[in-house]
């Protein structure tokens, strides 16, 4: 039966996460926006709280590892860990995107491990905080152009290369590094490795200064003859050219709804604050009267809220499909594309509507409109999402539609 309300079984959980977001994230939001690169120590306490919730089952399976496909198929319609993870991310990013990204043991690398690790690896890496390292100085969207190499040597791989834009690269204790086993074999030869930062040969070169999400560290990581145990290779070590990129890319089907959720949470924060500021200023919004008969501000707000609602539901439906084992690559990209762009448009428009009040650091609107920009870029830019959607909708290959 069609129903798009927040699942009943997660409503209490969402409320709890919102309280956490209010007290731990929003409360420290400006502090770490201004103090870029300083470690948000408040998050240690929060992380142990989250670990406790995970162990007691209170977390409803949400978090970076919630994207793992589990064998609990009892039939019927499921609302599972993909849904609870997305709901949790939305609330947390309503609090602060940068701080959510800095949550210990909740890195994108953790999602990658959860998506593709075997059971032994999952157990071995369960306590690690894993960052994700894909991008290199010479490429961005074109992940197949990876130059970082992994050469088998006995029970180890020797990794060499430079990775940029590694979120939590400094704070995490391991990095999931994407490297090629054989450059001549193309995409199929690209594998991911869990590289503990305690190993010799891996180092943080520098940290970036950024437009937004300043609470989160973005590192440049260099690998120089870094010897990684062969057992740390995630997924199949063989180069199967028939499978191409599928294995590594599976991570993205799972993480894109989460990034869409980040944009949805951030934009909701901006809409709510703008609505409050409007109410204080005596600007009313009526859902029944035609928008064009209301003030321009109200009409603009209605349009933003409508776009937000679409992004929100696209995000939840992509997660719902994952929970119900329906292939969701198309829907995940649709959600990311819509949420990424409207998240950015909404936050920027809210600054405009609030005039200098929105532009000033007195309110968070200017910060949210800086934070939102990255959400239309990382985990696949707007343009990459459109490419994926277009190829799927039109039934075209990557050589036909470049």
């Amino acid at each position: 039966m069609i129903n798009l309300e927040t699942p009943k079984k997660y409503r209490g959980f969402v409320k709890q996460v919102n309280e956490v977001a209010t007290n731990f994230l929003r409360a420290n939001s400006r502090t770490y926006d201004l103090a870029e690169h300083s470690y948000p120590k408040e998050l240690d306490l929060l992380a142990s709280l989250v670990d406790g919730m995970n162990e007691s089952g209170q977390s409803k399976g949400a978090g970076a590892a919630g994207v793992r496909v589990k064998d609990d198929d009892k039939g019927g319609v499921k609302n599972g860990t993909n849904m609870s993870s997305v709901l949790s991310v939305i609330e947390m990013c309503w609090g602060d995107v940068g701080l959510l990204l800095s949550m210990p043991r909740q890195g994108l690398g953790n999602s990658a491990i959860a998506s593709v690790a075997n059971d032994e690896q999952l157990e071995r890496f369960k306590d690690t905080w894993a960052a994700m390292a894909i991008t290199e100085p010479s490429f961005g969207s074109d992940s197949a152009a990876i130059k970082t190499t992994a050469v088998k040597d006995g029970d180890e791989y020797i990794l060499n290369g430079e990775k940029i834009f590694v979120t939590s690269g400094e704070r995490a204790d391991s990095v999931v590094v994407w490297a090629t086993l054989d450059k001549s074999k193309g995409r199929a030869a690209i594998k991911s490795f869990v590289v503990p930062k305690s190993l010799p040969g891996i180092r943080v070169e520098r940290l970036e200064h950024k437009l937004g999400i300043r609470a989160s560290d973005t590192a440049v990581i260099v690998l120089e003859d870094c010897r990684v145990p062969a057992a740390n290779l995630l997924g199949d070590p063989e180069i199967d050219t028939s499978k191409g990129f599928a294995g590594a890319m599976a991570t993205f089907d799972n993480t894109r709804p989460l990034v869409a959720g980040m944009a949805v949470g951030c934009a909701r924060a901006a809409l709510e604050l703008t609505r409050d500021l409007f109410t204080d200023a005596g600007i009313e919004i009526d859902y029944d009267r035609p928008a064009q008969s209301q003030s321009a501000a109200a009409a603009t707000f209605l349009q933003m809220e409508a776009d937000w609602e679409a992004a929100h539901l696209l995000t939840l439906s992509a997660a719902w499909m994952a929970d119900n084992r329906k292939p969701n690559s198309l829907e995940a990209s649709m959600a990311k594309a819509k949420a990424g762009r409207v998240g950015n448009q909404i936050t920027l428009r809210c600054v405009e509507l609030a005039s200098t009040l929105g532009y000033s650091e007195v309110e968070f609107l200017e910060k949210w409109s800086r934070d939102s920009k990255i959400l239309d870029i990382f985990e696949g830019t707007q343009q990459i999402q459109q490419l994926i959607v277009a190829r799927r909708v039109l039934g075209l290959t990557s050589s036909q539609l470049k």
């Binding site: 079984k9 319609v77 035609p290 809220e305 409508a306 609602e309």
Partner: protein, 435 residues
């Protein structure tokens, strides 16, 4: 899906369909040729050419009300088995009958009576009428209404509106009528010969707002005197019964039942940009006398009617937008320029991607709004957002649809120009349809 759906509409519709000859589409195509052109006749004339007498039953008691479904609390995008079956039937009707007949229906500014007859054969106007009033439903469902509107409009929005117009009036009486109003009118909609009927809300002026009406009902004697001009009235010249939106003295904006035979009721055809098969008309009310019990529902019910009507328009937008997207997909992957299909170019492909993304987004928002109605939750916000999105992106899909075909999209050789004109109705129209 193993769930047993309590609504039971789908099976009943299938049964009715099996008894009717709806799938004999060639017969229907012939029928469309017989309709007389009456588009350009201007000037007001008496309404209701086939006037019937509605035998008045006086009872002010609360009418029967369809129940709503119990919420499951589970996020779910799966229609019930009954909804799925119903949609498949209606989609087939849309594909085999409405779509091929769209051009000729548009040319005569009306929907053939045979097609309307087929929709009443399979019970389109009965979906929201409770079983004990001769209808088909044990539970009313706005989701079903939206899915049906979507499916019909995937064939042709103009004919879809014509087919749904009597249902709008029947649904309004089922939802908000008194016992007397239900007994007076609903049996006609449950019978073999469903009357043409129209829910007349819009008025022809800029920035029209259904909560600030110029049509008035002034107290006079034991009833009211109605005056005003309505627009967007579906098949006005054929209609036998109107539900008219008016500012009622001492009450505020409300619905009023007006029989076409009443003195002072006149209609004029009002051919518009699109929806031509819906036979859009104006309805002039010149000191029309109605009884006290002609008022249908409360002021709050009126507000609810405006919302549910907007929801139905959102559903219609989904169907036409989907058809436009499908057509464009086929075209751009086969049409060649510079030695390869135009779809190989990002500017074309990304436009199609955005059409697909916005359609999916507005569909989910519309379904959420409808499911809130079914669960008895306040849906004012969600319906407003669904209307906003379908008006904005429905039109964007319509205009991109023409754009992707270039000059070919502009000529009637392809249907995209009709869909473009039809999709402009979304956000403009009020009333006429209801879920």
């Amino acid at each position: 899906m193993a769930r047993t759906d309590p609504m039971g509409v789908g099976l009943k519709v299938l049964n009715r369909l099996a008894q009717s000859s709806v799938i004999d589409r060639f017969g229907l195509r012939d029928a469309t040729q017989k309709v007389v052109y009456h588009g350009a006749r201007n000037g007001f004339k008496a309404a209701g050419t086939a006037q019937r007498t509605f035998t008045k039953v006086r009872s002010g008691g609360q009418g029967a009300r369809p129940s709503t479904s119990a919420p499951t609390g589970v996020f779910d995008l799966t229609p019930t088995d009954d909804q799925q079956m119903m949609v498949e039937v209606v989609e087939e009707f849309a594909r085999e009958v409405l779509r091929p007949g769209a051009e000729s229906a548009e040319a005569v500014n009306d929907t053939p009576k045979e097609i309307l007859g087929q929709t009443s054969d399979f019970g389109l106007s009965l979906i929201n009428i409770p079983e004990d009033l001769g209808g088909l439903s044990q539970e009313r469902s706005a989701v079903t209404g939206v899915l049906v509107a979507e499916a019909l409009a995937s064939g042709d929005m103009g004919q879809a509106v014509a087919c749904l117009a009597p249902s709008a009036v029947a649904t309004a009486i089922a939802l908000w009528g008194t016992e007397g109003q239900q007994q007076t009118y609903l049996s006609a909609f449950a019978g073999d010969d469903v009357p043409a009927a129209a829910l007349a809300v819009a008025e022809p002026r800029v920035l029209f707002d259904p909560f600030t009406l110029q049509t008035t009902a002034r107290r006079s004697g034991a009833g009211y005197t109605l005056s005003g001009l309505k627009s967007g009235v579906v098949r006005g010249s054929e209609a036998e019964l109107f539900v008219v939106a008016a500012e009622v003295e001492g009450r505020g904006p409300s619905m009023i039942l007006v029989e076409a035979s009443a003195a002072g009721v006149q209609v004029a055809e009002d051919p518009s940009m699109g929806l031509r098969a819906a036979g859009l008309s104006r309805l002039a009310l010149d000191d029309v006398q109605v009884a006290e019990d002609a008022v249908l529902g409360s002021v709050e019910d009126y507000r609810e009617m405006v919302r549910l009507s907007r929801l139905a328009w959102a559903g219609l937008a989904l169907g036409t937008a989907r058809t436009t997207l499908d057509y464009v997909k086929d075209y751009v992957t086969t049409r060649e320029a510079f030695g390869e299909p135009v779809a190989y170019r990002q500017s074309v492909a990304f436009t199609v991607a955005d059409m697909a993304i916005e359609l999916e987004g507005m569909r989910l928002v519309t379904l959420r709004a409808a499911s809130r109605v079914d669960q008895g939750l306040d849906a004012a916000r969600e319906i407003a957002l669904a209307r906003k999105l379908t008006a904005e992106y429905g039109m964007k899909i319509g205009t991109d649809g023409v754009q992707m075909l270039g000059g070919h999209g502009f000529v009637k050789e392809h249907p995209v120009e009709r869909w473009y004109r039809d999709l402009r109705a979304i956000g403009v129209m009020e009333g006429a349809v209801l879920v």
